[in-house]
């Protein structure tokens, strides 16, 4: 098999892409030198370093490496492991935006770290700053049984179009785009600045449902649907129109009122749509027209890997499941149906009981890379739940994959359960945080460690943010936990009923924030109340929606 075939599913850089990336690294090297010699002030340097993924956090600089739409090759994962060893402390943190963060980078070494990324066709471009951020998508893109359109193709088109966009690199605020191509929304498109649902028209042609003005943060808002249908040819023209209206009219006085959601809310959905359509009607559409040949060229990068016909694979898997209860638990929770008969997607849990959600050591990254090379056509995905995915595993090899993952402590069978917790870095690392998120996740994970109990509780999203910026997506957790600062002490506000899916909902606040030491008990009581209220077949969200907030308020009051 030649390289292009075995590495299907990754956008392969050619000499032009590599030339661009080298030039970008050289530019940043120059910017760092100008900062160190004083030619650039911190105020001027900050947006420049942020657009190269470099934050100054609580203890050190943090480098947020882009994992474009969550897709990595084995070689890329190995290079990330190498960077973790060489420039950091041997581990990294996978984020809710499908990226990877290193916590201990030195400014002086940051250009070298970026050069090392570029060696593997990776970058940290626009993972921060008031620009168009890394585009996110369904972690099962190109593999999911229910997929209508492969969103990676359009995510890559968006990645290229938004890269150093001359007009939209100094926006009022950050701008996040998510795209999905399946009827089940696994990309949270209703809570993004722009959300896209790729679908097919009557003749099989690709088009898009377009949402805008959704978002979490200080003012959580569910997005507005701008278009039921946008043709593929007009894809980029329409993006230009939305961004241009936002760049011209978005708030620039108050950082808390600068996201596009505030503009949409303030002018009203109808007026906003009218402005976008007017801009769309007057901009030079031919110039931005997405040529079918360009789409086809990018689509070729995402051709299906060379799947083989596996007449006995499903039976083999069924036998292995019936022979081994622990494997059966893992298959029931940590897999997703594949479009190709005989194959399956395996989810690598980065949520060991008591562990740090989303963290992986260099050794684990290398090991997952090896497994992907051997069992998944060299392909790895990062999920916005901070887990990893081996997207294309043969069902008759799944048992071997499970055994290998188990030996690495990467096979906790808890995907979708109460211990599959999303947590931002919080006050342990982040300079914006008001309270810690990681140790809260660890305590909760230990409290609900018992698998029987996890499975009895059923599907439940538990999301923790260390501040109102909501990187831990607490608003859309069935149970959300938000860290707040009360006179220098850590307190936590609990919300219930949030969802990021097709039924996107912002969670409701239960009541006053509780101190760090009480959080675990409060969540435990919330779960007990749910278990006492639930009717047959209901999950937490369904029970909450039926019963309402009133019965859950007791969770805050009952003495621990």
């Amino acid at each position: 098999m030649d390289m292009a075939v075995t590495r299907a599913g990754i956008y392969h850089y050619d000499e032009f892409d590599r030339e661009f990336l080298r030039e970008r690294v050289a530019e940043f090297r120059g910017q760092v030198a100008r900062r160190l010699d004083g030619a650039l002030t911190e105020d001027e340097f900050k947006p420049l370093r942020l657009m190269n993924g470099l934050y100054l956090q609580l203890h050190a600089y943090m480098l947020r490496c882009a994992v474009p739409y969550g897709v990595l090759s084995s070689d890329q994962m190995r290079q990330l492991a190498h960077i973790a060893r060489k420039y950091d402390r041997g581990f990294g943190h996978f984020t809710t935006r499908q990226n990877l963060q290193f916590n201990w980078i030195k400014l002086e070494e940051a250009p070298d770290a970026l050069a090392a990324l570029a060696e593997a066709d990776l970058h940290a471009l626009q993972t921060s700053g008031n620009c168009i951020r890394n585009v996110t998508t369904d972690e099962f893109a190109g593999a999911a049984a229910d997929e209508i359109v492969d969103p990676r193709v359009y995510a890559e088109i968006l990645r290229q179009w938004s890269t150093l966009h001359p007009e939209f690199s100094y926006l009022p605020r950050k701008f996040k785009i998510a795209i999905t191509g399946a009827p089940t929304d696994r990309a949270a498109i209703q809570v993004h600045d722009i959300g896209l649902l790729a679908k097919r028209g009557p003749a099989g042609e690709v088009g898009f449902e377009v949402w805008a003005g959704g978002g979490l943060g200080r003012v959580p808002i569910i997005g507005t649907k701008l278009r039921e249908w946008l043709s593929e040819a007009d894809f980029l023209s329409y993006m230009e129109a939305v961004l241009r209206v936002y760049n011209a009219l978005g708030g620039r006085e108050n950082i808390h009122k600068a996201r596009i959601k505030i503009l949409v809310r303030d002018v009203g959905a109808a007026r906003f749509i009218e402005m976008v359509e007017q801009e769309f009607a007057t901009l030079p559409r031919e110039k931005f027209r997405l040529d079918p040949a360009v789409v086809a060229g990018i689509q070729a990068h995402f051709a299906s890997p060379p799947f083989v016909v596996l007449p006995n694979a499903e039976a083999d898997l069924a036998r292995a499941v019936s022979d081994n209860a622990a494997f059966a638990d893992w298959v029931a929770h940590n897999t997703n149906p594949h479009k190709q008969p005989g194959y399956i997607s395996a989810i690598v849990s980065l949520k060991p009981i008591g562990g740090i959600p989303g963290d992986a050591t260099d050794a684990q990254m290398d090991a997952v890379a090896d497994l992907a090379e051997r069992y998944s056509f060299d392909e790895i995905r990062v999920t916005h739940y901070q887990n990893l995915v081996l997207p294309h595993v043969r069902q008759d090899e799944l048992f071997a994959v499970w055994q290998a993952l188990d030996a690495l402590d990467l096979a906790t069978p808890n995907v979708g359960t109460v211990t599959d917790i999303i947590a931002c870095p919080g006050l342990d690392y982040c300079s914006l945080a008001n309270a810690r998120a990681i140790p809260v996740a660890q305590l909760l994970s230990e409290r609900f460690a018992d698998l029987k109990r996890q499975y009895d509780i059923g599907p439940l999203t538990l999301n923790i943010s260390g501040c109102i910026n909501a990187c831990g997506h607490h608003h859309v957790g069935a149970i959300g936990i938000l860290g707040v600062d009360k006179k220098g002490e850590e307190f936590y506000q609990i919300t219930l009923g949030g969802s990021a899916g097709n039924d996107a909902t912002i969670g409701d606040i239960v009541g006053p924030a509780v101190p760090y030491d009480d959080v675990t008990d409060v969540v435990e009581r919330i779960i007990r109340i749910y278990l006492s209220l639930r009717q047959t077949g209901e999950n937490f969200l369904q029970t909450y929606r039926r019963a309402g907030m009133a019965p859950f308020k007791d969770a805050l009051h009952a003495a621990a």
Partner: protein, 101 residues
């Protein structure tokens, strides 16, 4: 970036902290304008005197030594200054959680 007092009018003793520009490491203003890596060496300011420390912080920002200098409240024990607020506790001690398993 302007140096700032986040704790104007406090009766608490104060120390001045920042991040070193070159590597981002947390540093504390010590005697003689030195920037120490351990809070134990931090110079403690009382009341208005913190303005002097902040002026030193601002100067160190102008000369590309540090970034984001600010004053933080502490109590002074036998082992030296101890931060009052959670943020500076973690700045002084590092993350409260370990490395990935």
């Amino acid at each position: 970036m302007q140096a700032k007092v986040k704790t104007k009018g406090t009766a608490q003793p104060l120390v001045v902290t920042a991040n070193r520009l070159r590597d981002g490491r947390v540093v504390w203003l010590a005697e003689g304008g030195r920037w120490a890596e351990h809070i134990a060496e931090a110079k403690v300011f009382l009341g208005e005197a913190a303005e002097t420390g902040l002026a030193e912080g601002a100067e160190a920002e102008r000369t590309q030594l540090v970034v984001g200098a600010y004053a933080a409240e502490v109590t002074v024990g036998v082992a030296g200054p101890v931060p009052l607020r959670a943020r500076e506790k973690f700045r002084a001690l590092g993350p409260s959680v370990g490395v990935a398993a």
